[in-house]
């Protein structure tokens, strides 16, 4: 066995040698002075990896735990702008929970109007103080909301609460309904500044409780049923698919609906598990809560600086050694280092053999502090002094240490003087604490404050600021020495103030000439519970403390009201390619129409529209030039209520000067629509939208002419639809009869065009036989037949281009009408004896005054012949033939279009005149339609058309227009004869009465 054991030892040695030296052989290039860091750097360089990248990566990995998103919940309201009494629904949208949303607990709370805390005792207790305690608080708000959810309209006042047999209890699980079976729940709150989660005690859920009951304990007896106003004989009074107690727990209740009144505030707190697991060896995730708030964020006010260790003396073991003058036996300590001792310039430093002594001679009262670095639990450095009356003679202060202690440097001995002004702010222990800090992960800051209480007393307060994490076990050793003139020593120790991070010398009532105090405080691992979470000035140690934060999570639904929402506007325009006619009286410019629709108004009738028009030569949003309304031809009203449409005629100059006097070409028009909607209380919603419209300019027009047919050939006749004074509306829409042929031509174009595309209703005009010299698209004229029925429209479009890149697009609209004839005065403006009768005037939307004339009556005076004529619309009849049948006061005869009636001698001798004619297509037209377009002869028709008027004949006095005064006298003078006539009749009647009565009376007297 012994041999075998030795053999094994040798075998082990060989194996070690092989391993090490073998490697060295195989890597013979590596010297024995290998530096791992430099070698690693070389490897990284060879691999092309930046070292800092890896360092950043490591830092990122280290901080990964802090980057997780805490659970959150947001509230939205439907409707957005609730009215009082209206049903308002709050929707909770949780995020960053690991649970299914239906497994979360939503605890709603509703603070109704007049239920502020200050309302308590003001007659609102019954309405507001629902839990029956002394005040109105968040618990009452919770009860208010959860009652509404659980009750759901049940007639609780007539409920039978004598018994409860519906077995509707529910046992709530920490962290959500799907967390059952998990033990040792761990609850956390999150610090959004650092991203860290802080543990709090899982003491109770945030559910509202009935008086003396607990919600979520699987017991929901009749007392709780009555409190929550649920049906004791229904498992699910709230109709949520869950039991009544689950409803009170808010299980999956992510909606809350109530009748809103102004001043209501609502909130929700959601319980579930976060996305981060706990560090325990189990399946638990962190149980966390999310609250609704717009102006309050959970944990937002956590100040890590406020995290201080728990002043729990039971967790701290401390020992204090006191004594009188320092024991001079410290000379037995052996030296370990002598370095830097000679660098002390304030005193004599001597190397006394094995003892390191740092001697400082002081000649007045002083406070001497010496301390060691590092972890020292035994053999602390010792301060010695010589001299009995330091205030009056030189005193030597010595700091000595043993080999088991730390090495000393001159800075370890620090002397301050009580009468030195600097002493007041002298942090003599700071460096010591800094050393502690360097050895103690988790300590962020050490703050030392010195206060001179009197010449014999001073107060040293040391505050250690932790980063909030659990610091490892550490030992703090401090040595505080002081001296006075007395020789007695008295030390007291106040354990209650003995906190690990705060050492206050005042805790020790020192009254000694030379006192050596060695205070060793050793803390074991501090528990998480030792740290307070301070949120918004409130200590949060446990879940129930979170209720104090809930009032800050109440939201006023009117904050989300619709006034904050912009009005959304849709804006469309037509035509798609509008044409501008720059001529002053141009008629080819399109009517640019804009139509808007507001998507989200409260009341469409209260929308105020404001239209603005701008122009530019390019799409440059910064330099649009506004066109005011007076410059917009035929513009509709630009501002006012309900003006959701706007139009104007594109008859604008092609060139204009901008604000800086630069000439520009109007290539684009920008229409801006601003809409306002007053919503009460001085609030207004606004929205705006704009469109940029490319403008095609036209300096030409489509000329429309009648067609004459000579031997089957088509030729253009008189121009029609030119928009003359008598028929200005024809300029926009040309009335035309069915089965007629129209000649179209381009007129007034500034440039010569080469290619022409004529279309009717989107289709190119095509001919069965070409009626023009050529039909290859090079003709600036065209013919087309009217084929639609009465009421239909033909839209003719001409696009003309040339090789220079010029282009115009012109449109003409034709409306198919029945042909008409109308009797009119031959020449109203001359002295001819006939005129229209003015009925009145009206003002159109553009402010233009339009005179309205009678359509049935004409006016003439006595003594002159009356001249009338026939206005033919929609077709033509030869004027030199007797195509018209006239009827004058019943006498009919054939005649031409003009008629002269004999003069009348008396006023009131009126004429009743009618005229009729036959509308039909002649054979040449029928042949042409068939030849050029293949139109069947069956499409033609005939129709008798007529008109009739009464010509009222009056004396010139009645017809003449005079001033108003003259009219009054004329009226008076004309009515005087009538009155005299009337007076005569009434006088006669009166005398008749008198006469009759007289006769009767006389007769009766005679017969007496």
């Amino acid at each position: 066995m012994e041999i075998l054991r030795k053999k094994n030892i040798w075998l082990g040695l060989v194996l070690v040698c092989v391993l090490f030296f073998g490697q060295a052989k195989s890597a013979h290039a590596i010297s024995l002075s290998i530096n791992p860091v430099s070698e690693m750097n070389k490897i990284l360089n060879d691999l092309g990896i930046n070292k800092s990248t890896i360092q950043n990566l490591g830092t990122m990995v280290n901080n990964m735990d802090n980057k997780t998103m805490p659970p959150q919940v947001t509230l939205t309201f439907v409707p957005i702008n609730p009215k009082e009494g209206e049903k308002l629904t709050a929707n909770a949208m949780p995020a960053h929970f690991l649970n299914d949303p239906s497994k979360l607990y939503y605890t709603w709370f509703l603070k109704v109007k007049d239920c502020d805390k200050k309302s308590s005792g003001a007659g609102n207790d019954e309405k507001c103080n629902l839990d029956g305690d002394d005040d109105i608080d968040i618990e009452d708000y919770k009860i208010k909301a959860m009652r509404i959810i659980a009750n759901d309209g049940f007639d609780w006042e007539n409920g039978d609460y004598a018994s409860d047999n519906d077995n509707d209890g529910y046992e709530a699980n920490w962290g959500g309904d799907d967390q059952s079976g998990k033990e040792d729940p761990e609850c956390f709150v999150n610090n959004p500044k650092t991203g860290e989660d802080y543990p709090i005690e899982c003491d109770e859920h945030l559910f509202p409780n009935a008086s003396g009951e607990e919600t979520g304990d699987d017991e929901f007896e009749k007392g709780e049923e009555e409190f929550w106003r649920t049906d004791p004989h229904s498992r699910d009074t709230g109709h949520t698919g869950k039991t009544d107690e689950a409803n009170v727990c808010g299980l999956g209740i992510n909606q809350f609906t109530w009748n809103y009144q102004k001043g209501d505030k609502v909130g929700v707190v959601v319980e579930g598990i976060g996305v981060s697991p706990t560090q325990e060896n189990d399946a638990n995730y962190k149980i966390m809560w999310a609250m609704s708030s717009k102006n309050y964020e959970t944990d937002a006010d956590i100040d890590t600086g406020d995290y201080i260790p728990d002043p729990n003396p039971a967790d701290v073991s401390a020992s204090t050694t006191t004594g009188t003058s320092p024991n001079t036996t410290t000379t037995t300590y052996t030296t370990r280092t002598t370095q830097e001792v000679d660098e002390d310039s304030d005193g004599n430093l001597t190397n006394a053999g094995n003892i390191v002594q740092i001697n400082t001679i002081i000649s007045k009262k002083a406070v001497v502090v010496a301390s060691s670095r590092g972890t020292v639990t035994t053999s602390p450095p010792v301060v010695t002094t010589s001299g009995t009356n330091p205030g009056n003679s030189d005193t030597t202060v010595t700091l000595s240490s043993s080999t088991s202690g730390p090495s000393l440097v001159s800075d370890d001995l620090d002397v301050a003087f009580a009468d030195d002004e600097e002493l007041e702010n002298y942090n003599q222990s700071h460096e010591v604490w800094e050393r502690i800090e360097s050895l103690t992960p988790g300590i962020e800051d050490v703050d030392v404050n010195e206060t001179i209480l009197n010449e014999n007393k001073r107060r040293t307060q040391v505050t250690v600021v932790s980063d909030g994490l659990v610091p490892p076990t550490y030992t703090i050793t401090t040595t505080i020495s002081t001296w006075t003139d007395t020789t007695t020593t008295k030390v007291t120790y106040d354990t209650e103030k003995d906190v690990p991070a705060t050492i206050v010398s005042e805790d020790f009532d020192i009254d000694s000439e030379f006192v050596y105090i060695s205070k060793t405080i050793s803390t074991e691992t501090l528990e998480q519970d030792d740290f307070d979470v301070d949120i918004d000035g409130k200590d949060i140690d446990q879940v129930s403390d979170l209720s104090e934060l809930l009032p800050g999570a109440l939201i006023d639904p009117s904050i989300n009201a619709v006034e904050s929402e912009k009005l959304k506007i849709n804006l469309v325009y037509s035509p798609a390619f509008p044409v501008n006619d720059p001529l002053t009286d141009g008629e080819k410019g399109d009517i640019l129409s804009l139509t808007s629709s507001v998507v989200n108004p409260q009341n469409k009738n209260s929308l105020k529209y404001s239209w603005e028009v701008y122009r530019n030569d390019s799409i440059d949003e910064d330099s649009w030039d506004q066109i005011i309304k007076s410059e917009l031809p035929e513009a509709s009203q630009t501002s006012g209520l309900g003006l959701n449409t706007f139009q104007f005629k594109l008859n604008l100059p092609e060139k204009y000067d901008d604000d800086e006097g630069m000439e520009k070409t109007m290539n684009f028009i920008r229409i801006v629509l601003r809409v306002e909607e007053p919503i009460g209380e001085g609030k207004t919603r606004r929205g705006n939208e704009w469109v940029i419209i490319p403008i095609e300019s036209s300096s030409g027009k489509i000329k429309v002419s009648n067609v004459s047919i000579n031997s089957g050939a088509l030729a253009s006749g008189d121009e029609i639809c030119s928009g003359d004074l008598n028929n200005p509306e024809e300029k926009t829409i040309c009335p035309i009869t069915k089965s007629s042929i129209v000649h179209l031509s381009l007129e007034g174009a500034d440039v010569d065009f080469e290619d022409f595309l004529w279309t009717v209703d989107g289709k190119t005009i095509a001919y069965k036989t070409c009626p023009l010299s050529s039909c290859d698209g090079s003709q600036d004229e065209a013919y087309f037949p009217i084929t639609k029925e009465v009421g239909g429209k033909h839209i003719v479009n001409l696009i003309a281009t040339n090789t220079a890149g010029d282009k115009i697009s012109l449109t003409k609209t034709f409306k198919v009408v029945d042909p008409t004839i109308k009797i009119i005065p031959t020449n109203e403006n001359s002295d001819d004896n006939c005129e229209k009768i003015k009925i009145g005037e009206y003002v159109d939307m553009n402010g233009v005054t339009i005179t309205d004339y009678s359509k049935k009556d004409l006016l003439a005076v006595i003594g002159s012949p009356i001249k009338i004529t026939v206005d033919v619309s929609g077709f033509s009849l030869p004027s030199d033939e007797n195509n018209f049948t006239w009827s004058v006061n019943g006498d009919s005869f054939l005649g031409q279009d003009d008629l002269e009636l004999p003069a009348r001698e008396e006023s009131g001798e009126n004429y009743a005149v009618s005229v009729s004619a036959l509308y039909s297509q002649n054979n040449d037209l029928k042949k042409a339609l068939n030849e050029y377009w293949g139109i069947s002869p069956t499409d033609f028709y005939e129709k008798v058309i007529s008109d009739e008027v009464q010509i009222i004949v009056q004396s010139p006095d009645c017809v003449a227009e005079g001033d108003e005064k003259g009219k009054i006298f004329a009226s008076l003078s004309s009515s005087i004869p009538k009155y005299l006539d009337f007076l005569l009749r009434i006088v006669l009647m009166s005398f008749l009465i008198i006469l009759v009565s007289k006769v009767i009376l006389v007769f009766s007297s005679e017969t007496k």
Binding site: S975, I986, S990
Partner: protein, 219 residues
Amino acid sequence: MFEEKKEFKLSDYKEPLVASLVISLCLALLFFFPAQNYLQTITVVVFFLFLVPVLYLKIVAEKKLQEFGLNLENKKEGLIWGTAGFLVFILVFSLLYYFTGFKNNYLLPELAIHNFWAFLFYELIMVNFLIFILEFFFCGFIFFSFLKHLSSFTILLQFVLFAIIAILIFGFDWQTLPALAISLNSGIIVYRSRSFIYAYGSALLSFIILDSLIIYHLK
């Protein structure tokens, strides 16, 4: 002991009968005589409510107008009953004004409400003229034509006739109510004072005060 029963004689009733005929003709012509404008309407009113009765009394009946109420006799009775009638009228219409829909339905010319001179013209010319004409016809001509035979029932007779005429012309509404009240008031005053002048004064004053009250509250 026993009152002797009077023998009925037609001659005793000839004047009331003829007066009834004249009154009927006047009222009928008031309605049916064609008038095409305001001037003619006013002429009709003047003729058939004033001139014809006056001519009848002077020419046919050969009576003095003083006998038909155009006098200032019985001043004491007239003033007392005129004042009492005025006060009762104001009291009644004040109550109607404050407690019924009268104030919303009694209309005045817009110009008279906003222009004091127009108000004076309206009250002192137009209202005055109309009241005088009506008082003369109903409380003078009709009243005294039948007073001898109907005694106090004459008050009711003239009131009923006036009410029929007023309702036929204007309809029965708040606008007509003051005129009806005035008519009844006037009948009582005339019956007590034997003069329609006091009734006319009381009626004119009543209308002016009532209209003033309305205008005061409208402004």
